[in-house]
């Protein structure tokens, strides 16, 4: 239904079409029928080879679920994932195992994502060994990668995760992901738990590695500054839906969706000329269990009208590869302020 970019782009490394995951909660013998958490609802996007797609949104908007869906760590309810035009996990096309060679993930929790009883070397070697790389080659690859991510191999191979700092552990996690020689990394809040100074080092490492190995990134974060720094394109999610997608400049300089604008307004600015003008959105996002009807943002949107409650706005293609899911962007939607968002704040 939502196909923001209908034109087939040959350069797209990863493409999802109507990806959906609803979790069942409650339910059972006495508690009545289960209710569904609509974690990820019909999201479609693509990532071009060699670029970084930043994904932003509040907690619980389905960012991490989306990452796990892409990696096949949880099964999708419907929709499809294509890598280089090949369907993943279908009867024909690419197997999940092959897809995982192409795509690796770095987790937010640097400690929890390393086996506490395995040495650094063991953790990094594990993937290549599983894929039939000889022990000597896997070890050589591990040492080269440790060196590359800035950890002296002779000092760190025999260490255990608890002996490392958060930044060092995250470097190990990056090395582990790269040990599979992937072409794409899904980075799920990789720097959120790090100190600011360490965060910058790891971000720069990620940028260097991307350049060096020709990697494609999906970079998930709730930190808008970080996303602006590292991304080529940005996707904004709200309650399991994409509300807006576009290039970094388009999103940060010309945000169209009220939610995106609210997020950007809430972002502290260093420049007194750009101090926060309108009130940031208040309150918690509604529960993704039985999300609001129509536009999911209408309960918190300052421009909400009847139409927003009744009908769900489609992710409207504006220019090529730019899309906004808002009735105000859709002439003829019945919203009184159609087009008003264009005259910026």
């Amino acid at each position: 239904m939502n196909t923001p970019e209908t034109q087939k782009n040959q350069a797209a490394f990863l493409e999802t079409v109507d990806l959906r995951k609803h979790f069942e909660v409650g339910g059972g013998f006495l508690s009545g029928p289960p209710r569904m958490v609509q974690a990820v609802s019909d999201i479609s996007f693509h990532v071009d080879e060699g670029t970084t797609l930043g994904v932003v949104g509040e907690s619980g908007c389905g960012k991490s679920t989306m990452a796990r869906l892409l990696m096949g760590l949880i099964e999708r309810d419907s929709g499809s994932i294509r890598i280089l035009g090949q369907e993943v996990g279908g009867t024909e096309g690419m197997s999940l195992r092959e897809a995982r060679r192409q795509m690796q993930m770095v987790f937010q929790d640097s400690f929890g994502s390393l086996n506490p009883r395995m040495t650094i070397e063991g953790s990094i070697m594990f993937g290549p060994l599983v894929h039939g790389v000889s022990r000597a080659d896997a070890r050589r690859r591990t040492h080269a990668l440790l060196d590359r991510v800035g950890l002296e191999p002779s000092r760190y191979t025999a260490r255990y995760p608890h002996e490392l700092s958060g930044g060092q552990r995250q470097r190990v996690n990056i090395a582990r992901a790269l040990a599979m020689e992937p072409r794409m990394l899904v980075l799920d809040e990789p720097v959120s738990a790090l100190d600011k100074s360490v965060e910058a080092q790891v971000l720069n490492l990620l940028l260097d590695l991307k350049e060096e190995f020709g990697l494609t990134y999906i970079f998930i974060s709730h930190d808008l500054n970080v996303v602006q720094y590292i991304s080529d394109r940005v996707m904004v999610m709200y309650l399991g839906k994409i509300v807006e997608i576009g290039s970094v400049e388009e999103i940060y300089d010309d945000a169209r969706h009220p939610y995106t604008r609210a997020l950007l307004n809430a972002m502290p600015s260093m420049d007194p000329a750009h101090r926060t003008e309108s009130a940031p959105i208040t309150g918690e996002p509604p529960s993704p269990i039985d999300p609001p009807s129509g536009c999911r943002f209408h309960t918190r949107c300052p421009f909400a009208e009847d139409i927003c409650e009744k009908r769900e706005p489609e992710l409207q293609e504006k220019q090529t590869r730019r899309a906004v899911a808002c009735h105000m962007e859709h002439p003829g939607s019945g919203h009184s302020q159609v087009g008003s968002s264009r005259h910026d704040q």
Binding site: R68, M71, G72, L73, L96, R97, R100, R101, Q104, M105, F107, D109, G112, S113, L114, N115, P116, R117, M118, T119, E121, G122, S123, F126, G127, V130, H131, A136, R139, R140, R141, T142, H143, A144, L145, L146, D147, R148, P153, S154, T157, A158, Y160, H162, N173, R176, L178, M180, E181, E212, F213, G214
Partner: protein, 296 residues
């Protein structure tokens, strides 16, 4: 991709080889004085049971009614005699054979079967978990002594049947423990990272799960060792296990109970042996659990 990059850069020779997890566990275990002492005690008891015919001063089944219930230190009877005038030291040495078997064999079998079932239930989850755990609950609902008696009785007397009955009784608690620890470990990100690397479930369980769950399972299982010995002695007492005059610690404890007022020390001796074996194995597995914790 990476291989081509390696050429441009001085490749670091893989000289630093981590010695592996289990190597570290053993060296940490050997540094722990309590664990080493327990290993020595258990080793001595096992060896003395194995070589009982060589070191025992007498015959475990032959006694003299005239020599009944001699106290400890009586000439010729280092640890006195039992209610039928048989040498206690000899009987304790020989009794170790049967008792260690009734303790170790059921616990080991239950550890393998129950550990495997619990790990599978915890790792796979969903329906598999429900089927395994609810089946275990059914067995769990019976009092363990009653269940052991019922199974032994149904299968008939004899050592093998008794071991089988004890194994079945010991499986449910081990499944429970291993299921709950596996469920906790399974939720951690490093398991997802391993799955994302394309590893199969068995490889992940072997490489990432086992090391993180064996500690608590070992400690719990070792506490079942004494339970198993006591249950076995109970079965022997009602004629479903070892039969008199076969020496067996539990059976000896039962038959000596009539002498508890006249020779309390002697009647307590088989219990002391059970206590020592149980305590030593418990402390040893506690030491093993600590040694498996790399963060120490």
């Amino acid at each position: 991709m990476i291989a081509s990059k390696e050429k441009d850069r001085p490749v670091v020779p893989p000289e630093v080889v981590s010695r592996g997890y289990w190597h570290g566990v053993i060296s940490r275990l050997l540094r722990d004085k309590v664990s080493v002492a327990c290993m020595i005690i258990l080793g001595a008891i096992v060896l003395s049971a194995i070589f009982a015919p060589l070191i025992a001063p007498g015959d475990p089944t032959v006694g003299s009614v005239l020599e009944r219930l001699k106290p400890i230190g009586e000439p010729g009877y280092l640890l006195g005699t039992d209610e039928l005038g048989r040498d206690m030291l000899t009987r304790l040495l020989y009794g170790g054979r049967m008792s260690l078997i009734t303790g170790v064999v059921p616990v080991t079998l239950a550890l393998i079967i129950g550990g495997a079932l619990g790990t599978i239930a915890g790792y796979v989850g969903g329906w598999t978990n429900a089927v395994i755990m609810r089946t275990i609950d059914v067995i769990f609902a019976f009092p363990s002594v009653l269940l052991a008696v019922a199974i032994s009785g149904a299968l008939g007397a004899g050592l093998e049947n008794m071991l089988l009955a004890l194994t079945i009784v010991l499986i449910p608690p081990i499944v429970r423990i291993s299921e709950s620890v596996t469920t906790q470990v399974r939720e951690l990100d490093f398991v997802d990272a391993a799955r994302a690397s394309g590893a199969g479930s068995l490889t992940i369980i072997r490489a990432h799960i086992l090391g993180n769950i064996l500690g608590p399972i070992f400690v719990y299982s070792s506490s079942l060792l004494s339970v198993s010995i006591i249950l076995a002695s109970g079965l022997s007492f009602i004629g479903l296990g070892a039969k008199p005059p076969t020496p067996e610690w539990g059976l000896m404890l039962n038959t000596l109970r009539s002498a508890i007022y006249t020779q309390p020390v002697i009647s307590a001796l088989p219990g002391v042996m059970i206590f020592i074996v149980s305590l030593a194995s418990n402390l040893l597995s506690d030491g093993l659990r600590s040694a498996m914790d790399v963060q120490r």
